[in-house]
């Protein structure tokens, strides 16, 4: 699931530097938007793996820290929803750009 999303987002991020619209304003020197996006996807994947490990640990009795497990799961959930929101905005932006008639 994460790999599919990563591929589609990578393609979109590959398109935006070519249009050059957002590159000159406010981007951090030395890192492109594509890199930031890829790092975020890796972070979300890691958070989800952490949440899975924590949930398995509490079900098999290896940890008693239930609050920690809840926090980890909720963080993974929010991170995924944030990534999804970024993807939606990118798709909307792409649709808008597509409709620019020359």
């Amino acid at each position: 699931m994460i790999e599919g999303a990563a591929n589609s987002l990578g393609k979109i991020a590959g398109i935006s530097p070519a249009t050059g619209a957002s590159q000159s304003t406010g981007a951090a020197p030395g890192s492109s938007f594509a890199d930031i996006l890829k790092n975020s996807i890796n972070e979300v994947s890691k958070l989800q793996q952490d949440a899975t490990q924590a949930a398995n640990a509490v079900a098999t009795g290896q940890t008693e820290n239930v609050t920690g497990v809840m926090s980890a799961v909720e963080k993974a959930d929010l991170a995924f929803k944030t990534l999804l929101a970024i993807r939606s905005k990118l798709m909307d932006a792409y649709e808008e750009i597509k409709q620019i008639s020359i």
């Binding site: 009795g61 008693e64 239930v66 609050t67 809840m70 926090s71 799961v73 909720e74 959930d77």
Partner: protein
């Protein structure tokens, strides 16, 4: 996973045993003979608590280590006509004081309630942490 509920359960069991002992004392307040019918006045019993759960002492909790006989002297009353009187005419009665037993029973009952409240609080804390997941 829920050590606190185990602790509470051990405390409830210990207080229940204490109440049983107190009830036994009050029931036998006038018992002058033992089970085989020989003259042997009832001696007051009391429980000795120790930390740690009954099965393994390293787990936090409380358990009853032993139930012991109160060795304080038995009160004597002068009653020469009584068949249980000794050679001086005195009869030994059990060393159970009703007011002390009632106060102990009240204390055990309050401790029982306090432990039940503590377990309820632990359960509601856990349920509120379940609500973290939106």
């Amino acid at each position: 996973m829920f050590e606190i509920l185990d602790m509470g359960a051990s405390a409830l069991t210990a207080q229940r045993i204490r109440m049983d002992t107190i009830a036994g004392n009050i029931a036998n307040i006038n018992t002058l003979r033992d089970a085989s019918g020989k003259p042997n006045p009832y001696r007051r019993r009391f429980v000795v608590f120790a930390p740690g759960q009954a099965g393994n002492e390293s787990q936090p909790g409380v358990h009853v280590k032993s139930i012991q006989l109160d060795q304080s002297p038995l009160p004597k009353r002068y009653d020469p006509g009584n068949p249980d009187a000794d050679k001086d005419g005195y009869v030994s009665y059990p060393n159970v004081d009703l007011s002390i037993e009632f106060v102990n029973a009240l204390e055990a009952s309050r401790a029982y309630e306090a432990n039940v409240t503590m377990m309820d609080t632990a359960k509601s804390m856990f349920n509120s942490s379940l609500r973290l997941l939106g």
